[in-house]
Symmetry: C2
Subunit: 209 residues, 2 copies
DNA sequence: AGTACACTCGAACGAACGTTCGAACGCATG
DNA sequence: CATGCGTTCGAACGTTCGTTCGAGTGTACT
């Protein structure tokens, strides 16, 4: 409800302040991913961040801003790292493979943040929600553009938008089953499999790598 | 924490009692899907179900049982309807198409329950969690079996389990973007597209329907 | 009429919640 | 030493939470 100071309007702080705030956000993402935004108490976040309850409010304005900062930063760094990864890659297939690899790597290494973005995407309201939504849309459009630049598909799959949405389903759902510590398949191998599955399907018999 | 009376141990009740309880579960699923399990208050559920706050406790033992009943019933009816749909269908491709259609239809018509199952899958604990998990596993294994019975895939996609997990990602993620009222594509058309996408990929050029 | 039972509800309980406040602390700079 | 500021914290605030309790319905059977 309360207005949130967006990142662009924040005052500059000392590097030490930013470091501690980042540490707080990491701890918060862990708690949010474990019990959800509503299920998480500021007291548990404080314990995870090794701060006192009231100490949190020195770094953020409240619980809502914690969620906002995590979500905004996650989508924003996704967009940024995607642009970097795609530089110099021109083959449509390779561009998609690169994008998928970037996505999976990013989330494999920040699983907590992915969970927070997936579970509590609709929790924010007002201008904070819109700010996150803008970054999210920018990322979606980037991936969608890559899909559209692939060779035009057959008639039965005419909606590149739906195909992109399903691609995101594949990529985002893996937080429900992937266990970084226990899984035998590496993140890059998984990304390669998902790329091949999306492009050529499960029944493809010829090798296209 | 508290022990939940599982469905098999429930006493038999009058049909009128079951009807009202079902109405309560529907209302609860709507609220849970809108604001999540933790974000939902019993007072809001009562308002949605047109009951008093304390009236809820005449039909269920508490908030936890509401979540349990919704999740268990959802997965259980998925398993049951899948078995019915598959009767007499022998072609592997057609069996997959049937399963996808059943899944998408079921969730398109019960979007609230899907959201509750996706968002708050890890909320329950103890024997209630295990009971839901058993039904969920049974459903996963049914779909996995259908995938395995497809022609053996090329080497690069050797993990039928991962392919199945990605298929579930496509199928389940659509609650994040599909708007039943506004979307131009019907549920059955969507299911057909998802089946084709999974089997032959986005780049397939020949018609295989 | 009287009893039993299913059902509904208002009022209240203790607990936990997010947030606030003012007093401390450490440590620079005058 | 004294002043100011960034930082941390314990204690408390008011609110909302899930749940309980007992009294109040209406209805069916004796």
């Amino acid at each position: 409800m309360a207005m949130l100071a967006l990142q662009t309007t924040e005052q500059k702080r000392s590097p030490a302040f930013d470091d501690k705030r980042l540490h707080l956000l990491k701890a918060t993402a862990k708690v949010f991913s474990e019990v959800g935004y509503d299920g998480a108490s500021m007291r548990r976040i404080a314990a995870e961040a090794e701060l006192s309850l009231s100490g949190i409010y020195h770094y953020v304005s409240g619980k809502e801003e914690l969620l906002y900062l995590i979500q905004y930063h996650t989508f924003d760094s996704l967009v940024t790292s995607l642009e970097t990864c795609l530089e110099g890659v021109s083959s449509p297939r390779e561009r998609l493979a690169t994008a998928v690899r970037n996505h999976i790597r990013h989330f494999g290494e920040n699983m907590h943040e992915l969970k927070v973005c997936a579970r509590d995407l609709e929790t924010l309201e007002g201008e904070a929600y819109e700010a996150v939504r803008e970054r999210r849309h920018a990322y979606f459009q980037s991936i969608h553009q890559i899909v559209k630049e692939l060779a035009p598909p057959r008639e039965a799959i005419h909606h590149s938008w739906i195909a992109t949405a399903n691609l995101f389903g594949m990529l985002n759902w893996f937080y429900q089953w992937y266990d970084a510590g226990r899984s035998k398949v590496s993140l890059d191998d998984l990304a390669a499999e998902q790329t091949a599955l999306f492009l050529d399907g499960y029944l493809a018999t010829e090798d296209t790598t």
